[in-house]
């Protein structure tokens, strides 16, 4: 009897503890969302003055903020495309060919993952200034491509681990040339890894503050625009935009990963073979890839490093 009561007590303690942690995680988000409806008009826009939807209207008049958001999206799309293409090719090449200096490239790939972002930021700043490249859109894209590539490569590499290279040979034996084989065989098999890497690169790019802060010049991305206004007080229209972005992302996840909220599925992607995974189709995996944000990628990299590559 006593034991039963103790188990019950522990369970309540556990649930309470987790609830507190979730409260901690969601507290600032709730503040942001609530503040986007705050009727206050005096800086620093902190105390609550009643409910309004004004900020959602004012948002559309704040052209510099919208412009910054547009810049962020352009940089994110371009860097994601470049990083995905370069990273995918690199991962395939490093898997298939042995060459001198392979270890060095491998080592270099780990640097953006472990080193504090500020070091990467200042080192790019110094080299851009030395090379005389004017800071702006170009340097931002170059910087974002650089720190995104390793994450794409680790994602694609995870996929390559189960890749049977003989199917490429089979394709060539049957008369396909190298390009056809690449587009018809290699690419489709690796697609989940590539998409996962691309999504991750996109997430990293739109969220980046520290590296962009050093290489931006006069170009303002959305996070940098926020940074500018932090000292004087972030206006609630920024909160309104952030709320809209958050709603957008959650909608995206619910739509792509609707099954998440319905059934409990203990199976994780790892237990499925690649062919089963392909059968399940695109919809499931995009959602999965999305839940693998940067945190997962870093973890994946550590596992890769711990168990595989050493």
């Amino acid at each position: 009897m006593k034991r039963k009561r103790r188990i019950k007590r522990n369970k309540i303690l556990g649930v309470g503890f987790c609830a507190l942690v979730y409260l901690f995680l969601f507290l600032p988000i709730s503040v942001i969302v609530a503040n986007s409806f705050n009727a206050t008009t005096t800086k620093p826009y902190m105390s609550w003055k009643g409910f309004t939807l004004d900020w959602y209207v004012k948002l559309w008049e704040n052209t510099s903020l919208l412009e910054a958001f547009g810049t962020t999206m352009i940089i994110a799309v371009v860097s994601t495309l470049l990083a995905t293409v370069i990273g995918t090719l690199g991962a395939i090449g490093m898997y298939k060919y042995k060459f001198k200096g392979k270890g060095l490239i491998d080592g270099l790939l780990y640097i953006p993952v472990v080193i504090p972002e500020i070091v990467l930021g200042i080192s790019l700043l110094t080299i851009f200034s030395k090379a005389g490249i004017p800071r702006g859109m170009i340097t931002l894209i170059l910087a974002h491509v650089t720190f995104c590539i390793p994450f794409v490569i680790f994602n694609v590499r995870a996929r390559l681990a189960g890749y049977d290279i003989s199917i490429e040979e089979a394709s060539m034996d049957l008369g396909a040339n190298r390009l056809t084989t690449f587009f018809e065989i290699t690419l489709p098999v690796l697609m989940p890894g590539i998409m996962g890497g691309a999504l991750l690169a996109f997430t990293l790019s739109i969220d980046d503050v520290i590296i962009s802060y050093f290489v931006n010049g006069q170009t303002k991305t959305y996070p940098l625009k926020i940074m500018e206004s932090v000292k004087s007080g972030v206006a609630p229209d920024v909160n309104a935009l952030s709320t809209l972005i958050l709603i957008g992302t959650i909608l995206f996840v619910v739509l792509t990963q609707g099954d998440l909220f319905k059934k409990s599925s203990k199976e994780s992607g790892k237990e499925e073979t690649k062919y089963e995974k392909k059968k399940h189709g695109k919809k499931v995996f995009v959602g999965n890839a999305f839940s693998n944000t940067v945190y997962d990628a870093r973890r994946m990299w550590f596992e890769d490093w711990q168990y595989g590559n050493r």
Binding site: G14, C18, V21, L27, P28, I29, V31, I32, P44, Y45, M46, S47, V85, I86, L89, G90, G93, M94, K96, F99, G101, I105, I115, P116, I118, V119, L120, I122, S123, L125, T126, I127, T146, I149, R178, D207, V209, I210, F214, Y222, P223, I226, V230, V234, N239, S242, I245, L246, L260, F261, K263, S264, T293, Y295, D296, R298, E303, Q306, Y307, R310
Partner: protein, 284 residues
């Protein structure tokens, strides 16, 4: 290499090699070179060899900031373990059908820009902020309490930003735990405390190690957290570097300061590798 392979090899490996060499290796080497340079009266970098920047690193104010950074990073890491471990344990081992949702709920807050979220904390903790509003309304305090600009606030912000890096590897490690081992330990008469320290903890140590590395290192460089929440009272090494490259305009000194961060990173990665080796030997 087969001659026929040279072209496809170049096409695939070429671009990534160029980027990694030009935009990772070269800049880091350049920073190392710059740390031995000085500046002229117009703040231009002049390429002569000097150890002056490194001498300046031992200035008493800086030493205080290093100690403070390491202290904050250490406390942040410990707090992340203390909060993250039980939390990950519960959500990784729950029988609830909503397990995946619980996991997603950890990630969702991080889809909002980190600056905005840190600013959310400021709005919550500020003098005219919400917490003070609530406390005054409830009559608990009569004057607003100064929550901001203390090392405690910076630590809250750091824990907040970095705790997913702890929770996610721990979650993975704990989820891999084999139930039968825990049952065996129990059947053989071990108390829950002993099972935890003798079985569970050693088996999930890899998660703690990688989590700690992923929390500790970025913490040293997150200058905007200490800027927004610590207001200059709780500077980290990151703030020092940032200032040299922006307002201070002394790039060589900033470069030398970055070298410290690089060395700390390398050391910790080495330690981690060493620990990781032991983990393999234990069969983890």
């Amino acid at each position: 290499m087969d001659k026929k392979q040279i072209k496809p090899a170049l096409v695939t490996i070429g671009p990534v090699t160029v980027i990694m060499v030009l935009l990772i290796a070269l800049p880091l080497i350049y920073v190392a070179v710059m740390s031995f340079c000085s500046i002229d009266e117009y703040y231009n970098v002049t390429f002569d060899f000097t150890l002056e920047n490194y001498m300046r690193l031992f200035n008493a104010d800086y030493l205080k900031i290093y100690a403070q950074s390491l202290g904050i990073a250490f406390i942040t890491t410990v707090l992340c373990i203390l909060i993250g471990y039980p939390f990950s344990y519960i959500i990784a081992r729950t029988k609830s059908r909503r397990k995946k949702v619980l996991y997603m709920l950890v990630i969702i807050p991080f889809w909002t820009n980190s600056l905005i979220r840190i600013y959310g904390w400021r709005t919550f903790l500020g003098n005219s902020g919400w917490l003070n509003g609530i406390l005054t309304a409830l009559g608990i305090v009569s004057e607003p309490v100064d929550f901001l600009y203390k090392s405690g606030t910076t630590i809250v912000g750091m824990v907040y930003c970095l705790i997913p890096f702890m929770i996610l590897p721990l979650y993975t490690a704990i989820e891999k735990l084999d139930d039968s081992l825990l049952e065996a330990s129990q059947d053989l008469g071990a108390k829950p405390v002993n099972t935890f320290f003798e079985v569970i903890l050693p088996l999930t140590m890899s998660g703690i190690f990688s989590g700690s590395l992923m929390v500790f290192i970025p913490c040293l460089g997150y200058f905007f957290v200490s800027d927004i929440l610590g207001g200059g009272n709780t500077d980290m090494i990151g703030n020092l570097i940032e200032r040299q490259f922006q307002s201070g305009n002394n790039w060589p000194l900033g470069a030398a300061l970055s070298i410290i961060l690089i060395i700390v990173t390398l050391l910790l990665v080495k330690v981690y590798q060493k620990m990781g080796g032991d983990m393999d030997a234990l069969g983890v």
